[in-house]
């Protein structure tokens, strides 16, 4: 288990990406799976800055990676306002260009590319987001 705390601003995303990508690589995920994990964490951290902190440099993002034989768990903690994913619209990926809205795309990507996503909020810690990616079972 490794935890690193990053300043809650957009130029932290590169370092957060490197940190998570390295954990995914050590866990033995494929290049594509590493990319999926990195993208999901990038989207989650962007949402933290945008929705929980409502701007840059308002607080930190604590990122923990837990490597297990068959899965990687990423936990993101912030101390901003409670984030309720139910308020985020679900994008219609079949919509025509004119009707296409880009709201909610980040959360959509996270839900498609991670196996488990759980949002929690406590007064003591703030928002706690737990995401799990499992390794694809190889055929015997």
């Amino acid at each position: 288990m490794t935890t690193v705390t990053f300043p809650g601003r957009y130029d932290s995303l590169v370092e957060i990406g490197k940190f998570v990508n390295e954990a995914a690589r050590q866990a033995g995920f494929s290049n594509l799976e590493q990319y999926q994990i990195e993208t999901s964490v990038d989207e989650a951290c962007t949402n933290i800055i945008e929705y929980a902190y409502q701007g840059e440099n308002k607080g930190d993002i604590e990122c923990t990676c837990i490597v297990e034989p068959d899965e990687l768990t990423v936990i993101l903690i912030d101390h901003g306002k409670p984030f309720n994913p139910d308020y985020i619209p679900i994008p219609d990926t079949n919509a025509s260009l004119d009707e296409r809205n880009t709201q909610g795309l980040g959360l959509f990507i996270m839900r498609q590319w991670m196996d488990d996503i759980h949002f929690d909020f406590t007064e003591d810690y703030g928002n706690i987001l737990r995401m799990v990616k499992r390794k694809e079972k190889k055929p015997c």
Partner: protein, 111 residues
């Protein structure tokens, strides 16, 4: 992220290198807006050196595509898209909204 724009007679070739995330996507938006402000609506995006794109970058692409395609005056074509970037575009439903070209020359020729 590095971004270069090469204006040709009938289209603009925009090459993005590196990483497009929430920190860098405003710069991409600025470059694309400037092209549109000059009344140019045919854009080829060379993605061969693009390492990463998040939804913030996708948002810039779709905003530009909407403006360019209005009144049939132009289009954004995505060229030489790396496999992992293509996965993101496909997941977001963007492969239905953009033409994807195997190489930059044919994309420029098709505009």
């Amino acid at each position: 992220m590095d971004i270069t724009n090469t204006p040709y007679k009938h289209c603009d070739l925009v090459k993005i290198t590196g990483r497009v995330d929430s920190a860098t996507s405003p710069k991409l938006g600025e470059v694309l807006d400037k092209i549109i402000e000059e009344g140019r609506f045919k854009i080829v995006m060379d993605m061969s050196e693009l390492d990463f794109i998040s939804s913030a970058g996708l948002r810039e692409l779709i905003t530009t595509q909407k403006v360019c395609k209005r009144y049939n005056r132009g289009e954004v074509i995505l060229a030489q898209v790396p496999e992992k970037i293509l996965y993101t575009l496909d997941l977001a439903g963007f492969t239905k909204l953009f033409r994807i070209a195997d190489d930059v020359i044919s994309a420029v020729g098709n505009l």
